[in-house]
Symmetry: D3
Subunit: 132 residues, 6 copies
């Protein structure tokens, strides 16, 4: 289940419920994912994490779908099963089509390959790419 | 420099030159990056890698800028200095603004954080996220 | 189960039994974990690994609980499910409270986030942090 | 230097200065590290990151030194050069002795080794370690 | 199962069947692994990936068994459960004995340990190891 | 240089010198690498690490060159610059030709790519690959 188990809405403190309510309202869903129920044992972390995500994933110069694609790319590279499952679903919810999914995975795979080829060949950074 | 050094255009075989030419034509640049010059010692790998990248990074259901952002996300997660430098430059070349860059980094950072929180709390995948 | 299966105590060679006995005596437990039973197919590796762990995890300038917390931090960052499960249990056995667990996870999550922000922004090391 | 360069105190907006001031006051130092100057181009991220770190790294059930040791363990496992340099210095500032440093590195090394042995031998989690 | 499910031979397009046939012929097996059935939803990726693997894993200066051992080493370091399971089986199919498996795992474990010790001690590269 | 600096032979204790001597004798070289000089501040770790490596890297069912190739594969996947530089040199010393190096890098790159594709497509392990 999870190391400390889940905090269910019915058993939650008002502080935790307020965060759960905001998650459900913001995301227009009627339940919160296991992740939130697992970390709710630490209300300060729950609040901080949710507020950070809410701020970061909001529409900005990058649209929410693009942000979810990036989230999936990180999760795949980190090999986080839970995160891949939940953010793939979230990306679909934001409009990711099957074709987008396939292209996303192709880019992730290729990037992981060339990342290691660059490293393995010990390639020095080109002058024009250096920050100064 | 690089483990085997660089293959410069002047010294390249016709086979390698053909790839270098295609890279420069496709990308509308007048030189190839160190990465290509480093792996050109292995012409089959050079050709295969370039053709794969050319196919994968072409416009599709995802536009080239989005693909570059994903490339950067993988490279940062893998901590590949060369790749971060070159793909950050490539993303800028495709229209990434400073604001987009900042949002990209914020998402990458957050994703890496929650990836580990999920893992550390040993959170089980929600039923509705499971593939079947 | 495990690639080569498990070596159970009853079937073990004297050499393997001696290590199993030392593990149980040192840790004051009456069975050895699957990890030890899995690598016992390679007695030299079993002995070397156990003796290294015994030496490294013994009380020193860092107490055993702190060492287990560090072990968990590495295991989470590496996304090793088995290791997270077993070392979280070991840390509890050494006195980790729920509150400590929560703070541990918060630090791990934050460290993973800022590690990637530093990398993504390509931040140069401050002069005063450099080794010389 | 850094992708977007550094925001120096003299050139900073009041919003950024307020964070820089709080960092210097909280840590009792008279300058901020490059990391903060690099991300200050994104004031919302600067503020959020600093407030999160301030909350997480404060004394709690785990003391500040232990938290820094955990930070180093994550940074080494992630191979983040900047982070290793800065958090090793921070840990020293909080009382890490040379002996503690050596034991820390030994545990990190061992944990990384056994993480991979467990994975490579495909060891199944012991029943008693499973969450339920 | 897999995000998009599997493409079974009976339901596959001629393009996908051609790749499946080539996999089965080349490997002298009568079915394709789940990996290929999962990515077959993207025929271009299926073809590109198979042709790359076929080229790379063919006998060369390194024999096929050595290549499989390297594949396992990467997969363990990346903690990819599927890949460890399938490439351990493939390595056995190419002649990996139990003794080779044990030595392989010992090297992988040790390499992961010293990789982190080098990093944690911030060791500078010896002059004679630098590329120039 | 390194966090604690280097222990040079002339300044080393008899205990450390004995290990340094054994390294030089075993490897038929007249100096020890920076790695050993960096960890020599912790004589117990120096001794344990050297003895483990000596045991693991000795000829066995796998020959020393194959073991070095595996070491490089892990180091590249972990993105450890020092380790890539030193073990690439060690592999050459054991007979790795340029052609072997290129094939090694191609396999490492491909393995990293497919590791992530498997993960991203959430592919379930085939029945016949499962341990039981």
């Amino acid at each position: 289940m999870a190391t400390l188990g889940f905090v269910e809405y019915e058993d939650a403190s008002p502080e935790v419920r307020a965060v759960f309510d905001d998650i459900m309202t913001t995301r227009k869903v009627d339940r919160v994912n296991n992740f939130w129920k697992a970390i709710a044992h630490d209300p300060a972390t729950l609040k901080r994490t949710w507020e950070s995500i809410k701020q970061i994933m909001a529409p900005g110069a990058l649209d929410p779908l693009t942000k979810e694609l990036i989230y999936v790319a990180v999760s795949v590279t980190n090999n986080c099963g839970y995160c891949i499952a939940s953010h793939t679903a979230a990306a679909r919810g934001r409009g990711m089509t099957d074709q987008m999914f396939k292209e996303l995975q192709a880019v992730i795979g290729m990037a992981n390959e060339t990342n290691k080829m660059v490293t393995g060949y010990q390639v020095e950074i080109d002058e024009q790419f250096k920050t100064r």
